[in-house]
Amino acid sequence: MQLVIDGIPCTAQSGETILQVARRNHIDIPTLCHHDALEGVGACRLCVVAVRAHAEAVDAQVVASCMYAVKDGLQVDTATPEVRRLRQTVLDLLAARCPDAPEIQALRERMGGDAVDYAPATDGSKCIMCYRCVRACEAIGCNAIAAVNRGPQKEVAPPFFDATQRCIGCGTCAAICPTGHIAVTETPQYREIWSQRFAMAQCAGCGAPFMTEATREHLAGLGKLKPDYFTHCAACRQRDAAARFVRVGT
């Protein structure tokens, strides 16, 4: 199907989102909660755009481009004054929520709009509730953390804020967090995350800690990976593979 984004005709397939089509055509739409590997959640509202059903349509509707499925003939504007103002408000609100998150403050400055300073939170949290960690944990198959409570008290936590067997200490949540809110302590012997300590497995090749024992068990249980994945770190596996290539070549 055909649609027009910022005056540029774009080709798209049914089921694609505006954001996917825009990015493929090198049209920039800012996002925070979006991640290519995860299903859309529409939480941050930074990616809002104005859409009209067809070229002659007058009424524009503001939608989240990460969730809105494209339709044939759709007219999308990614930077109308209204859209820019809404993005500014979203960032102003997040800046007040997380005064200590430099990523948010920087993004807000880049917007360059007419910023409003709202009452800043004082709890020191850097969480913007983008659900990336929650969705990643779900995608991994653990579901160890979830968004709990309502309204401004909403936060990400393991069940009952307690240690949980569902967590394998893989650290994906921390790695995918855009503001570095999730604390991780790494030592050669253990990793501490969500107030839980996980023993590290050592690489059979170089002896370096490369994943938690619990992660190794979880991945082995999936039965989809080669055995050396659980015994050797990524670097050693690469070196071994390279060595095999060399042998084949000679």
Binding site: R45, A64, V90, A146, A147, R150, G151
Partner: protein
């Protein structure tokens, strides 16, 4: 006994009606929440004791009457005039008594039931001293028209027999004999719109669900009533639960669903219990389950209990909650009538909507459409609460003006104080002022005025209500009830609430009002679900109609209503005070002193500004004065 055919149902009704016709009287004691709190349960017991003592045989609720029974006593659902309970209605005279005490049961039995008399000195009385001999004459009821609430306050809520005797399940029979397409057409022609607040055409919703290709379809009844001050759905679920089941079964027949869910909030334990019994009774009687009435139609209903999150009244959050997920809405780009519960086409209607359906099927689309306005047909139930003389549950034709509702039915503002505003539509609605009183109550007129129909809470406010405080109240409600998923609603509503709080406290800065309005508009634009999009309404509508009051809070730091504690001091007018002594014991801070029959005085150091003294003063001697903070 299982009803295995349509004929069996008709025979059962015939027998029940005949037995009922043999009774001389029916006494309906209101067992709605307010009346029970006022002692309706004890009254009902007392009537039974007195009747037994006087040798009068009663049939209670849905019991099959003994041969010698002459009177039926029904503990009904809410009869409406909650403020004046316990209510008693005696038929066939249609006598209506308010505030009947258990000790009056003897007189009720001897005079009303044994002597067939109307007890004149118990009848409701007009301000001019006129007594109303029948309920139909009482102004509170005279202007009403019941469709959804028809059985509420009339039938014995837990008795299937009583529901059948009142014509129950006749509409389902009618629907079973119609092609499903005709049912949809009838509901669409009737112009029925969703009573939960959105006002979407029910018939169209059913049509989309019926035409979607799927192996399974679902019918959901939304009983997650959460608006402050609203209890219509609760009253129907408690007072006439069989009607909801019948409405749902008709919807299921129309769209081809076999499974229904009633989502009820956990805080309505009586409704949950009643619905549970209703479903069991219907299954036993063959009115739910496989092969209903032998007509080759299968449908069953399950109860899903909500945990009390306001957001779970939103359709997509409600469906997620039934599925066992966190109750968060999803973007409405995908319509739940096409992809709803478990990804299947789902019709979700409100309790009151389903309660209208049997009447529409039985009496026809034209009959229903004849009531109301062209765009909003039929009637609407409201909970009339707040500073109004007659609080209670009402149902009026669409197009009735706010003035008729508040003054003719509600009897005007409590204690004769001046009217200031009326809040409709709950936290998604707004406040309307004096200038909007002649607005006809229908979906489109209220939306155009910046409020909305909502589920039907109607809160009347007098001149001692501060609109900044009201807006803050609703925003703080929404702040804690926001699901927290999207930024504009979670953070924006909290910041808006904070801005309103600074206005209440006299710490707002010039420009804060415009800042708040801009933020409110952005929340309405950018939020994910309809709850967030409508969250700024209580504030925006209050600013539209009462802007000067907001400006006075910010610029002059005054609260003309005398509500905002930080802006107000209370003082007793020595000229007006009669020394009656009512205020001193009412003061929780012991701040009022004065000898009997002498002018009293408030100790400003101890006064917390709660205004309790002003509320109890009969001489209007307690004055709310500006605190005279330095002006901005």
């Amino acid at each position: 006994m299982k009803l295995t055919s349509i004929d069996m149902l008709a025979q059962r009704r015939e027998a029940l009606v005949q037995r009922a016709a043999a009774l001389a009287h029916e006494v309906r004691v209101c067992a709605g929440t307010a009346c029970v709190a006022a002692g309706a349960g004890k009254l009902s017991d007392a009537i039974q004791r007195e009747a037994a003592a006087k040798g009068l045989v009663l049939a209670v609720d849905g019991d099959a009457p003994d041969a010698e029974a002459t009177v039926r006593l029904v503990n009904t659902g809410c009869q409406g005039l909650c403020q004046a309970g316990p209510l008693v209605r005696v038929l066939p005279q249609d006598a209506f008594y308010c505030g009947v005490r258990p000790k009056q049961a003897a007189r009720l039995v001897s005079e009303a039931l044994q002597n067939n008399a109307v007890i004149a000195d118990w009848c409701a009385v007009s301000p001019q001293g006129q007594r109303y001999a029948t309920r139909a004459e009482v102004p509170f009821y005279r202007h009403q028209q019941a469709i959804a609430l028809e059985g509420c306050g009339a039938v014995a809520p837990e008795s299937l027999d009583d529901y059948i005797a009142h014509g129950g399940f006749a509409a389902l029979v009618r629907a079973l004999e119609m092609p499903p397409e005709d049912i949809v057409q009838t509901v669409e022609d009737a112009g029925l719109r969703g009573r939960g607040g959105g006002g979407f055409s029910t018939g169209r919703k059913w049509r989309i669900a019926a035409s979607a290709s799927a192996s399974e379809r679902y019918v959901i009844c939304n009983g997650d009533e959460g608006d402050p001050g609203a209890f219509m759905d609760c009253a129907i679920m408690e007072g006439d639960p069989f009607r909801i089941i019948e409405g749902m079964a008709i919807a299921a027949r129309a769209i081809g669903a076999q499974q229904g869910f009633i989502y009820v909030r956990h805080e309505y334990p009586k409704a949950v219990a009643r619905l549970d019994k209703t479903i069991v009774a219907c299954r036993k009687a063959g009115l739910l389950g496989a092969g209903i009435l032998g007509a080759g139609f299968d449908f069953d209903v399950e109860i899903a209990r909500g945990g009390g999150a306001f957001v779970c009244g939103e359709s997509t959050a409600l469906m997620r909650s039934i599925e066992g997920q966190v109750g968060e809405p999803r973007a409405n780009y995908i319509r739940s009538v096409q992809e709803g519960l478990y990804g299947q086409p789902t019709v979700l209607n409100n309790v009151e909507t389903f309660a209208c359906v049997p009447a529409i099927i039985e009496r026809g689309a034209a009959w229903f459409a004849a009531t109301g306005t062209p765009g909003s047909s039929g009637t609407k139930a409201f909970c009339l609460v707040g500073k109004v003389a007659h609080t209670g549950l009402i149902e009026v034709p669409m197009g009735t003006t706010l003035r008729q509702v508040i003054f003719d039915i509600g009897g005007g503002v409590l204690d004769g104080r001046p009217f200031k505003a009326v809040q409709t539509g709950g936290p998604s609605g707004g406040c309307l002022g004096e200038a909007q009183l002649d607005l006809p109550v229908d979906f489109d007129a209220l939306t155009a005025a910046g409020s909305m129909m909502g589920s039907g809470g109607m809160i009347v406010m007098d001149d001692r209500t501060c609109m900044v405080d009201v807006a803050h109240y609703y925003l703080s409600f929404l702040q804690s009830e926001s699901c927290g998923r999207c930024v504009p609603c979670r953070e924006g509503v909290a910041q808006l609430c904070h801005l309103l709080d600074t206005m209440r406290r006299g710490t707002a800065k010039p420009g804060d009002l415009d800042r708040a309005i801009r933020l409110a508009q952005d929340i309405a634009q950018a939020s994910l679900c309809s709850l967030g999009k409508s969250a700024p309404n209580p504030f925006l509508s209050a600013v539209t109609h009462f802007r000067a009051e907001f400006e006075a809070h910010i610029n002059d730091r005054t609260c003309s209503a005398g509500v905002c504690r930080d802006l107000t001091v209370f003082a007793i007018d020595a000229q007006a005070c009669t020394g009656c002594g009512l205020c001193a014991p009412a003061c929780p801070a012991d701040a009022i002193a004065g000898a009997p029959k002498q002018v009293h005085a408030i100790d400003a150091q101890k006064c917390t500004g709660c205004g309790a003294c002003r509320t109890v003063c009969r001489d209007d001697a307690v004055r709310a004065l500006p605190r005279n903070l330095p002006c901005n």
